[in-house]
Amino acid sequence: MSLHLSASLGTWLAAALTLCIFSFLYKDNPLYKFAEHLFVGVSAGYYIVLNFWTVIWPNLIVPLGKAAQGLGVDPEHKGPFAAELGDYRAWLVIPGVLGVLLFARLLGRIGWVSRWPLAVIIGVYAGIKTTGFAQGDLVAQVQASLQPILGRTPWETVNAVLFTIGLIASLLFFFFSREHRGALGVASKIGAYFLMIGFGAGYGYTVMSRISLLIGRFQFLLENWLGLR
């Protein structure tokens, strides 16, 4: 095992910034603040450039430019408004204008016009999410819970019964139309225990994630920077 220090300036910079952030563990200090503000600045700048070059440019400006020449995805179709599925040509002026209106927010007095693009975004997502959750999480999950209680082995039966009771009890925990007394009280108490087991599992897995991230940083420092082999 020996050291092979990296000769790359970039790796040294990355290692230095990593250590600056780790210094927060000792206490909040200027090195950490330096790194933090650098990070926020770079990431904000990066988001601007990224969204310009990967969305606004290819999905809006390039097709609009083509549409101005009467072209689109399908070369057999001609005309700036000859739209079809996935090929909207000059219609893309609408998102373009709405997108610019979003910036009215920065202008104070006419900030309210930014509500129009916002209304479109909210409407689209409200619609997509409602049906997505209805199918993927509501119907599909309820459907998957309809399982035979009697399994092939006694152990399978125990598990199926346990699962079904746990599910129903946990659902009753979130029932707000009646006081949790009597049978409902017992059921919701059982539900609470199941939820706690669920949270315990979540705790264990969260620990795993966080430690993995630390391992990743140490691997970077040891292998890429110090070149420990």
Binding site: P148, I168, F176, S177, H180
Partner: protein
């Protein structure tokens, strides 16, 4: 529903088939670069393969008329180890007499193809040609006309439609009945008592209350719920003349929180107790916000910490620092990943929907209460379906389960 059109028109326009199929063969050979090409002319190796047969086609259902599905019987020579068939070429034409156009080719042992390049409401005729190292063999017949049409309803989504309509119906009904003055019953959430106790305790000790409405902007429903709870907390602190501190991470929730706290104090017996610095704008940056809040916890030593809203990785740091100061802590979030950290370090935790329920209860807003009741009613239906479904499944009756299947 798409219309079905099947049928075979025997022997038609075989002329250009050979040319097109040769192009397909070349394409196929080019695609499968992994296989080394034989140096010997293929014709010397083997006879041409027997043709594929029984080509049938159908409109793909539940779509906007964008695809046709084709299937056929494999060539009798297409079996593992025989190497007489390299693949199949699929061709189509607007008329049985041509002109034929190569659509695509598929590998050997494939007897299904979906043509996604069709135009809606247009008739097509198809034929499949068998390609082999020994030559190409066109099918003996042509299938068609086939036509892709748009469907008006996706018939695999009935169960989702029923669930959605039922739920919307329930919610609308309860909203309407709440607005007409018939206030539906919602049980008091124990967490609300815990909040009141915590404020009482702070008052007894003569220390302040710290309230965090989560770290997201106003477009997050949890932030809205947190602010509704803040309104009530501020009324209580104003009544008990206890100072309150509210660090906020985004500008709009900040303005709303400030307004709520000010209003609560101005409407109380001692409006002069309102401290304009009690609601503070910190920073949308997660860790900067945490550093500021833990600073407040350690310096000002509030006796009660109330966390209500969307929290992420910072929950751990907040709960730990808060715990170490010995304050009473009440938390509530719908971010399931963070709940474990609150549950173990706080005196009371509102779990998931309880956060929304608490805000609906406190606000008494008929729309919020209405959707809460609607969800409750659907939950009863869900539980009933689960019980009935499990019984049916145990009895090996699968109809109900199949009806719910969406895929």
């Amino acid at each position: 529903m798409g219309r079905m059109r099947r049928g075979c028109v025997p022997g038609a326009g075989r002329g250009r088939a050979v040319l097109l199929a040769a192009a397909a063969l070349a394409a196929l050979a080019g695609a499968g670069r992994a296989q080394p090409r034989a140096a010997v002319p293929p014709a010397l190796l083997a006879p041409p393969p027997a043709p594929a047969s029984g080509l049938i086609g159908d409109d793909v259902s539940n779509d906007a008329g964008r695809a046709l599905t084709l299937s056929w019987k494999l060539s009798p020579d297409d079996s593992v180890g025989l190497h007489r068939v390299r693949g199949y070429a699929i061709e189509r034409a607007p008329d049985p007499s041509g002109p034929w156009q190569l659509v695509d080719s598929v590998a050997a042992r494939t007897a299904r193809f979906v043509d996604q390049s069709v135009r809606r409401n247009t008739d097509y005729f198809y034929r499949v040609t068998t390609l082999g190292p020994g030559g190409i063999t066109p099918a003996r017949s042509v299938t068609g006309p086939l036509r892709a049409t748009s469907s008006w309803f996706n018939d695999r989504r009935y169960s989702v439609l029923v669930a959605t309509i039922l739920f919307f119906g329930f919610v609308l009904y309860f909203m309407a009945s709440a607005q007409s003055g018939k206030k539906p019953f919602v049980r008091r959430i124990p967490g609300i008592n815990a909040i009141e106790e915590a404020i009482g305790r702070a008052t007894e000790m003569g220390r302040s209350v710290l309230f965090l409405p989560g770290i997201l902007d106003i477009d997050e429903i949890q932030t809205v719920a947190g602010l509704v709870i803040l309104e009530n907390v501020a009324k209580l602190t104003a009544k008990y003349e206890t100072p309150i501190t509210v660090p906020v991470s985004y500008p709009i929730p900040f303005t709303i929180a400030e307004e709520m706290v000010r209003a609560a104090y101005l409407n109380s017996a001692r409006p002069e107790l309102y401290d304009p610095t009690s609601v503070r704008f910190i920073s949308p940056e997660q860790f900067a916000y945490v550093a500021a809040v833990t600073g407040i916890m350690l310096r000002d030593r509030p006796a009660a910490h109330i966390f209500m809203g969307a929290f992420f990785a910072e929950s751990l740091l907040l709960a730990e620092t808060g715990f170490s100061t010995g304050a009473i802590q009440v938390a509530g979030t719908a971010n399931v990943h963070q709940l474990p950290f609150f549950v173990v370090a706080c005196d009371y935790t509102l779990i998931g929907e309880e956060l929304y329920a608490a805000s609906a209860y406190l606000s008494g807003d008929p729309k919020l209460v209405g959707s809460l009741k609607g969800a409750d009613l659907l939950k009863i239906l869900i539980i009933a379906s689960i019980i009935i479904g499990c019984v049916l499944e145990t009895l090996r009756i699968h109809g109900f389960t199949h009806w719910m299947q969406t895929q």
